[in-house]
Each structure stands twice: as structure tokens, then as C-alpha cells.
Symmetry: C2
């Protein structure tokens, strides 16, 4: 059997800052779609796993160290690349704001954050990939505690609430959200307070991964 299909990986990386969700895009250096915006990615090496390929490409193209990575979908339409047959395994990832600045400063002309409502035209079928990734993020955040991967380690509760509102694109009742989230018993309340601007200073919280895994093992599911 002679097969000339090439295999690539792509990564939709989400970040969260100033109450909006952004996606990391790069400007392509080579044809096809030279100069156009695209999701970071590239070809898989013979010896590496798919995850290794994604992390390598992300580092090469954007300098980012990913915080959460999950396989999204594999795109295999024979026409998706105008030149060769390329099948791409798409991933979606999340990073914390600390890594944020790092990426933006690495090579501002080539890698850039875009608010998910103000996206440029994209190469290949990347618009479709991105759309699927957003849907998945919205669905997933309600039944897996991945939201914390977008926040700093310590965060005021309101940050978490605003994050959920931003991802889901709708208002959230502050009081019910707090009750539900705290009721899941995966947050540790710290003895630290932060005051940003006016208003009552907020207590800081931390996500307790160990307790989450323990509860998960007992069959208790995270659900917002």
C-alpha cells in the first residue's frame, strides 16, 4: 500500500484576561496562506507522540508553555489543504495569564491574541476548528473543572464567576453560582484578601486538585 497522507497537529489555545476569552493565532510565514492568520500547528515527527508534537510546535511558534491540553477532533477532508493531503489532529488548550504576557512579547508580529468575537479571516479549515473548540470549551467547563487552568493559582471568587460568564456568553447569578461552586468542595478558601479598586475586598480561593480527584473517584461529579 502506498499512502502519501501527511499528518499534522493544530492547537486552539484559549486565554482569559480582562473578562474576555482570547485565542492565540500565528501569521503564516510560508505558502499556502502565506501572511494569513492560522491556528498554531505543524507536522508530526515520526518518533513523537501527538501531544509531544503539539507542545513542540507551540513552543516553536509562540513560546508558550501549555497548562491544559486535550484532543479536540481530527480533520480529514481530502480538500482541506489545497496542495497535499493533510490530516490534522486538532487539540484545544488553556493557559494562565502569567504565561500570557510571555507569549505576546516573544514575537508580536507572528503570534497574537484575538478576542473570540473579533477574529480575522483564517487559513485552511481553521475557522471550523476554532468554532468546534469554542463549543467544546463551553460544554466542558460545565462538567470538568478546567476553568481554573485559565485563572491564577489564587483568585477571588468573582474572577471565577466572570470567567464562566465570559465563556458561556451569558449572565450568571452570583449567589447561586457561589453556592453551587462552593458546594462542590473543591475550593480552598485562603486567609488572604485582595482589594482591586472600590468595594469590599475579596477572599482568595484555590482549586484543590487532590480533593477533586478524590471526589471524582467516589463518583461525585463536578457540574455547574
Amino acid at each position: 500500500m502506498q499512502q502519501s497522507i501527511k499528518l499534522s497537529v493544530d492547537a486552539v489555545v484559549f486565554g482569559y484576561e480582562s473578562e474576555t476569552i482570547s485565542v492565540l493565532l500565528i501569521r503564516r510565514k510560508y505558502d499556502p496562506f502565506k501572511g494569513k492568520w492560522a491556528i498554531p500547528g505543524g507536522f508530526v515527527l515520526d518518533s513523537e507522540s501527538l501531544e509531544e508534537a503539539v507542545e513542540r510546535e507551540l513552543k516553536e511558534e509562540t513560546g508558550i508553555k501549555i497548562n491544559y491540553l486535550e484532543q479536540l477532533y481530527t480533520f480529514g477532508n481530502p480538500e482541506r489543504d489545497p496542495r497535499n493531503r493533510v490530516v490534522s489532529v486538532a487539540y484545544f488548550g488553556l493557559i494562565k495569564p502569567s504565561a500570557f504576557k510571555l507569549a505576546a512579547s516573544t514575537d508580536a508580529e507572528e503570534a497574537q491574541w484575538f478576542t473570540i468575537n473579533k477574529l480575522p479571516e483564517l487559513s485552511f479549515d481553521h475557522a471550523e476548528i476554532l468554532k468546534l473548540a469554542i463549543t467544546r470549551l463551553q460544554a466542558k467547563i460545565t462538567y470538568e473543572p478546567i476553568g481554573f487552568e485559565l485563572l491564577d493559582t489564587k483568585f477571588p471568587f468573582s474572577d471565577l464567576e466572570k470567567l464562566y460568564a465570559a465563556v458561556l456568553g451569558r449572565e450568571i447569578d452570583r449567589r447561586n453560582f457561589r453556592k453551587k461552586m462552593l458546594g462542590l468542595n473543591v475550593l480552598d478558601e485562603l486567609d488572604e484578601k485582595v482589594s482591586k479598586g472600590s468595594g469590599r475586598p475579596a477572599n482568595l480561593f484555590m482549586f484543590n486538585k487532590n480533593r477533586y480527584f478524590k471526589l471524582k473517584k467516589e463518583g461525585i461529579i463536578f457540574e455547574i
Copy 2:
């Protein structure tokens, strides 16, 4: 760039009969794992889409016409095939009992149904693929109306209930299940009855796909 990764597809096909869920497996003709049981699948041709590849391979190896097909996950561990680097896009599929008999008679020595609790040893990482497929089926049947793809077009309500009990591996309260399912407004009650053995004859029902799509568009979700 020189890349010598081969791309294959695999399909976990579930069937439902006599109150149990079965999986379709084939006995491998060639090395590696010659003579061992495996999930049907094979290499993707340069010109075909991934879905076309799955359907072609299924037809070639088992004679089955699939009823529902959905991408599951892509397995890319470099060591998953002892000989070459093979990345496989796994699908999971469902078929109705009518196609059932057809498959069993095609080539009984090579394609066979196995109850999901009595599986033989499997080739490659197929045990892992199968495990993931079962988890996905269990999750999906509760929020998408895919269960009907495993039943005949017309079915008594108890068939649906038994199917859910079999897939989820637990008892289901007949009365509450009926209330909930009928409340979703996607079933048409027919003016036909069936009597199998003793007991009161049951009315037949049909899944109404059009109504389901209409409700879905209105944001009403199927959930059991």
C-alpha cells in the same frame, strides 16, 4: 520534511440484541496479531475522507452498512503498532438488528459479535479504544437520541427501556423513564400493537427525527 507515518481508521460497532450490547470484532488474517481478534479497520486511501474509509473497511471486512457513525478519538502513541508508526482515527458506530443477521452470516469465521462483558483478548491498543467507546456510548445516549439507531424503526416502549438499562448497566424505573422519554416529545405512538409471549400487548413507537431537529433548533435538549 520526510514523514513515514501511516494513517488508519478503526470502527467500534455496537449492536443490541436480546437485552445485551455487543461489539463487532474481526479475526486478523495477517501479521501483526495474525489470528487474533481486533476492531475492524484499515488504512485510509489518499483520495477518500476518513468517514468514507471507515465505511469502506466495514463493508469489506464485515459486510455491514452502518446506521450511525461518529468520530471517537485519534490514537497516536508511537508504540501502538509494533512494526510501523500507525496513527489511527477511531470511530464508533451503531447498527440496527436488521443489519445484524446480515453481518453474522457473511463470514462467521472472520466477523463475530461479542457481548461487551465477554470480550476476547484484543490486538494493538484495541482494548483501550473499546473501553473509551463504551464510556462514550454510555455518556452520549443520555444527551443525544442515538439509542434509536440500535432498535428497529418501530419498537415497543419496553425495548427502549431495556436498551437503556443494558447500555448504562443499571436498572431503570420503568414509569419514570417513560414519563421522561415521552415528555421529550420525539416519539410518535402508533396504532399498532405487538404481543410477545405473555402479558399485555404493547403499543409501538417510532422516533420522529424531524421533530427532534426542530426542538433542538429551539434550544430544547434531549436528556435522559
